[in-house]
Amino acid sequence: MSALDRKLRRDLWRLRGQVVAIAFIVASGVGVLIMSLSSLEALRETAAAYYERYRFAEVFAEVKRAPRVLEAKVAQLPGVQAVETRIVEFAIIDVEGFGEPIIGQFVSLPERGQPVLNRLALRSGRWIAPDRVDEVIIGEPFAEAYGLKPGDSFEAVLKGNKRSLQIVGIALSPEFVYSIGPGALMPDDERFGPFWMGREALAAAYDLEDSFNNLVLSLLRGSDPNVVIERLDGLLEDYGGVGAYARKDQVSNWFIMNELEQLRSMSRILPTIFLAVAGFLTNMVLARLIAMERTEIGLLKAFGYSNLAVGWHYAKMVMVMAGLGVLLGWAVGYGLGQFNTQVYAEQFRFPFLLYRPGPGPFVIAAVVSLLAALIGAAGAVRGAVALAPAEAMRPPAPPSFRKGGLSDGRLSGLLDQPSRMILRQLVRWPLRAFLTSAGIAMAVAVMISSLQWLDSIDHMVEVNFFQAQHQDIMVGLVDAEQESVLREFENLPGVLAVEPQRIVTAVFRAGTRRHRGALNGILPDARLQPAYDSAGRVVPVPPSGLVLSTMLAEKLGVEPGDKVWVEILEGRRPNLAVPVTALFDTYIGMPAYMDLAALNRLLLEPRRVAYLDLLVDEAEQAALFAELKETPKVAAVMVRRAAVDTFHETLARTLMIFVSFFVAFGCSLAFGVAYNTARIALSERGRELATLRVLGFSRWEISYILLGEVGLTVLVGLPLGCLTGLGLTWLITSAFVTELYRIPLVIEPATYGLAVVIVLLAAGISGLLVRRRLDRLDLIAVLKTRE
């Protein structure tokens, strides 16, 4: 080992506190990037592999009733690889001990063996016996929610007939990765689950012998789903087809893709910011560290080392520091990435998990971090090697201070000398002070932009579930009914008010743009669930025309006054050009509203309702639930409170875990910056402080001078950080837009406060650590040697 390398080793040991602090900063950036990118990659890969292995269909279609012989015709359509016809129905389930009605989606299985498409991953139990009509396989999340296992039984109302069903197996399906009930935003495994029964048994229950009401297709490689869909629609039209759709519109897949999109935004923006901030801080800290090596650099040059050799020596030094951080970040990022992926996988219900992060994120993170460190060091080393060796070895001339300006106003007259020292130091090196403040500001900003998710989500819940919705329960009917059905429900126990809605599946078209979604018909004076914008205003729905969410309008490229082709995939399947009358902002989904009467006019089905919003007296809720379970007209029951709970719960499981990692990384950033700032200030000013000790200043008094300076830069950094945090959050929320969510820009005062407190704590701890060093300041050594 050369002498220079030995010096390097010992320098690193001497600077170990700072080495660790810098490694923390670097590791934060690297860790966040790897965690985010690797979980994203893993989820994508897992989903893709799951779909592939279990042959997830690519085109889906629903009909009223079609004969099984049609299957052969569909199979002959060009581009079709395989066809599976099925019976799919919703039914109300009754599990003992749970008052609310549960919605079950029943899907038929072939009499023998796995279906051709949408195969099941049997987790326990066995396959259904061919001749048993009461055997059922249930979804694993639902089974877990109720502790059900093979051998248990439960009751279900299939087309008005209550049946006792025997669980024989528990399974997962690519069709229900995101197991979401009708009208829900989040999976709620207590209130919704998929069930699989033998085809014969289901056909008998729903009078669909030799028929099907649902079919799924896989396509030949390279064939265009839209072309196949068009032809398929032609075939199914006569059988009450409501328009086939591609995999991207399949509910579970749509949610997964949205979540992945959300994760993608998160894993691009936040880690990029983290990495950039970490790079900036590494750069700043190392530049100051190297600047202090000036004498040694002069000495090395005096000995005859070339500029290149000296530069390389310090390059190695910073590479070791940053390298340690990179390694630490790799390890932490890998571990957390795996953990994070597992958390997501649990929500998504994959039967297996592929966590095999590629080299990409690791390389990117390492290169960015090392470059930032090297660039920071390079500036300082260049400054030092530019000096003649003799000059470099002399202590730098006393820096010139000048009177006047900020440091000598009337204010200054009131200050004692130590305070004046602090102030002058800051005014003398404003850039350095600013950079330190900027570092602290970045830590605060990162913390705010991580913590604000909680505020945004609370705000979203508040607006979406509390301000916009006033119904306690929303009931979905099996078929659209006459308005008189309202009176039936008004008479149910505990019902205080009933309001009708009609929600139909529709395809919106404008030019070449297209969106398949829901069209809500509501009363113009709806009170329980009016159209509601993100600003908290009720949006008036005019007697005719469409009121679109801005997100949907943007997707279609339309403005008020434009016409949108609306094809309603129900009833007579009208396809009409309807004018857009108004737009409104929403946080969740891409809703479209219309006056209920106008919608019914389009359908030529006057006075029909399909959904009922109920205002319920809580005391009688149990009785109402019992009644609803027995009502054949009811296809689905959605409880608002439950929706809020699952929304929070699900986000707590996923988003919040993500956020808490960001907060932890933010803390380590703050600590790294604060510690290095104080530590470097100590090295730079050790001599001065020792002199003061000799002059009779106590430890506390010199701590005041050193930590006062650091403290002041921190204090300046805090409001700066709050501003930057607001900016970052704005950046994140504007980039974070999916079809499912728009994250509102909401930062509660408490969030600013918390971020500030956390950073202050980190700074305080670093201050204490450095103060311990002040206590051990070697007075004689400092005075004897020149710098």
Partner: protein
């Protein structure tokens, strides 16, 4: 000064200012033990100016640091005003330095961010009976440069600010470690004049370390160090004015 109390100790018994008894100091640097002091007995009397001479490593600075409360001996005692300094704890030691000792170093150790006046005020703000910073600076001949920052002063001027800073608290003892070591002779003499003036006008007990035998001529007593102990103590009958010296 007409009286020469140190020529004949019986004449007017001078009062001791600080007394060291049997001081030893051993430094351990890694495997090596260095005996910096090997049993030093010494008394500095009030108002006297003592010059400590001796080669590098002879223990002068170690002694000065111990007398000034910057360091502790391995064995032995130091008494100041009847109190045993060597038994003081950290905060009592700080108190002692703050109230009683003035230091002047070879490398002035001024605070670059404070003006001359402010550097002095740094000390007067925490001392119990200080003289005004302006007055202290006038005593060292810097009455005109009160508002200059260290970077705007020459080396000699910086050292005089350091002296002003040391004496502004009216210390009982002034300890100067090679105060002219970094200065040319002309500046050095101006600095020594300042020290002499302070010694005479304020009656501050002054100990001055130097390599330069010429400087010894301004002392009341000259103590020569060699190898960690006092080799010779000599009373100087022909005390000279600093301004008359030359090297």
């Amino acid at each position: 000064m007409s009286a020469r109390p140190f020529e004949d100790s019986a004449a007017a018994a001078p009062r001791p200012s600080i007394t060291a008894k049997g001081l030893t100091k051993t430094y351990r640097t890694g495997e090596v033990e260095v005996q910096a002091l090997r049993g030093v007995d010494l008394t500095l009397y009030q108002s006297e100016l003592v010059v400590l001479l001796g080669p590098s490593g002879s223990g002068k600075s170690t002694l000065l640091n111990i007398l000034g409360g910057l360091d502790r001996p391995t064995a032995g005692q130091v008494f100041f005003d009847g109190a045993e300094l060597t038994a003081f704890d950290e905060s009592a030691m700080t108190r002692f330095r703050r109230d009683n000792v003035g230091f002047v170093f070879q490398f002035y150790n001024l605070i670059p961010s404070l003006t001359a006046r402010e550097n002095v005020a740094l000390v007067t703000e925490i001392a119990p009976q200080p003289i005004a910073p302006d007055e202290a600076l006038r005593m060292v001949g810097l009455g005109e440069r009160l508002d200059h920052f260290p970077a705007q002063l020459s080396g000699g001027e910086q050292q005089r600010v350091a002296i002003a800073r040391a004496i502004a608290k009216q210390p009982r003892i002034l300890l100067c470690d090679e105060p002219t070591g970094a200065l040319d002779s002309k500046s050095g003499i101006i600095v020594l004049e300042a020290i002499q003036r302070v010694n005479e006008e304020l009656g501050t007990t002054t100990a001055l370390i130097t390599h330069n035998a010429v400087i010894a001529e301004m002392a009341d007593r000259i103590i020569s160090f060699a190898d960690g102990h006092i080799a010779e103590t000599r009373v100087n009958p022909d005390k000279r004015r600093a301004g008359e010296m030359d090297w």
